[in-house]
Amino acid sequence: MLALDIKGLKKTYKNGFEALNGIDLQVKQGDFFGLLGPNGAGKSTTIGIITSLVTKTGGTVSVFEHDIDKSLSEAKRCIGLVPQEFNFNLFEKAIDIVVSQAGYYGVPRKKAQERAEYYLQKLGLWDKRNERSRFLSGGMKRRLMIARALAHDPKLLILDEPTAGVDIELRRSLWGVLEEINQQGTTIILTTHYLEEAESLCRNIAIIDNGDIIQNTSTKALLAELDSETFVFDIDPVAVYYPKLDGVQHRYVNDHTLEVDVRREDDLNQLFVQFSANDIHVKSMRNKANRLEELFVRLVGQPVPGVKVGGEHV
């Protein structure tokens, strides 16, 4: 069964801006799906339409076979939303926010309180349950929005950049929670700017740009399209002549940092042979960006800021 079935979805705002140009998108039940794209690509508009916060101009949207034009309430009942921006009452207690939200979905109060306790405990907020939400830290507010979205046990959880502004440790703990929720059967749709996050979590990915879906495939297949990766080598300071390497695109960022574009057919051993021959001593190496990020930049045509391509010192 499809958790989400979008066909020919269009949105033109009153000012004439065409946010979506008739996109098609299918997400299978149980999937962990990533919806990626640059700012203004149409991700939040798509989510807004699915959750009925934005009215569509054309096309159809079905959530677990409930068409939002014909059976909106049933469709809504399946969805839990974690929006991009904080949107809870700043003067309410954390627990009241979660319990009320469950109530809006028709969950009886006693059961809503049990669920609130379960999710606040799970997300490490139980000790803060009686705090007014405005006194919570940014990370706690994010977790509160996740607890609120889960309060009615949705079949489809939509997260619009849930880890924006969250520190690395907390981000990874949230990944754990999301993976667990997904393993328990909840379908998850995630938009994120952290492509490492999408690569780690999502089994399938769609990339949206300028209101069109430009890629929609499995994460594995998408990464297979990547024909080269950029490695960053930390080297002992080189002499002023900056030795040239044969057969690879490379550039010296400074006298102790060298970037090399390594194609799939290239042999890293050969590269190290060249390093030795040119008296370049490598202290450490790393990927410049994660693989999905490299691919993303190429697909949406946005340059990596600060570095020119070629065999020149920049």
């Binding site: 003067f91 969950v107 609120r148």
Partner: protein, 257 residues
């Protein structure tokens, strides 16, 4: 439509509304009691003694129903207007918009919250008035009916105001420039029989005149307006404003992009 889920949802919204105004009781419940006490002291006790009788009753007895009604009107209106607008402003109205709560139930719950605050403040003012006058009750049923219907009507009005409001100023314009003048000119402090005939006819276009007079009838048994006409008018306005509110909510005006 009228299933258990929707009633639970409406109950959750209503509970949240009541908790909200009770949490800030110093801002919501105390000021009307103090303001009305001043009215009782200044207009009732001090000036009222010089005015003498009105409609066959001493001036204090005459103005008490109008002042109670004035506090009910302003508080039921303000509760819904400020609460719903705040939910738009802080964007937590989205909690409701993404949930499967029919718009009719959202409206009902917010109105119930406004009615509760309006009546609670009305009761407080009534208690305060007992320090200044021995209250008569001519017809309890009329009192209850008029106060509940009026609170519903002005809660609906507050909702419309909140839906259209884009900034906090927008929810104070109507109370300041429309409700207050209409209330003061709606027979709280005088009988329209005292004013020239032309202005009597102009006053008949003021809906608040009907509510205050019908309410006064419940206490004193006197009214400048036919009570049945007044009830019919309030009922008509309730139907009209309910329909308009539902139209706005269904269209998502001011709520959805």
């Amino acid at each position: 439509m009228f299933n258990r889920y929707n009633w639970i949802a409406a109950g959750s919204i209503y509970r949240k509304e009541v908790v909200r105004f009770m949490r800030i009781w110093v801002q919501t419940l105390v000021p009307p009691a103090i303001t009305m006490s001043l009215y009782f002291v200044v207009f009732g006790s001090l000036i009222g003694k010089r005015i003498g009788d009105m409609g066959g009753f001493n001036y204090m007895d005459y103005i008490v129903p109008g002042l109670i009604m004035m506090s009910v009107i302003t508080n039921s209106y303000a509760n819904v207007a400020s609460s719903f607008f705040s939910s738009k402003f802080q964007r937590h109205v989205e909690e409701l918009l993404v949930a499967p709560v029919p718009n009719g139930f959202i409206l009902m719950a917010y109105v119930a919250g406004g009615v509760t605050r309006g009546i609670l403040v009305g009761l407080l003012v009534t208690v305060v008035s007992l320090f200044f006058t021995d209250m008569e009750i001519h017809h309890l049923g009329i009192i209850v009916l008029v106060v509940v219907l009026t609170a519903i009507l002005f809660s609906l009005g507050g909702m419309i105001n909140a839906i259209f409001a884009k900034k906090f100023d927008d929810i104070s314009i109507i109370p300041t420039f429309v409700l207050t003048p209409l209330t003061y000119l709606g027979g709280v402090f005088y009988s329209i029989n005292l004013i020239p005939e032309f202005w009597q006819k102009v006053s008949l276009a003021n809906p608040i005149l009907y509510m205050i007079n019908a309410f006064r009838y419940g206490f004193l048994g006197i009214s400048d307006i036919d009570v049945v006409t007044a009830l019919g008018l309030i009922g008509g306005f309730i139907v009209l404003l309910t329909g308009f509110n539902l139209y706005l909510l269904n269209k998502g005006i001011g709520l959805r992009s």
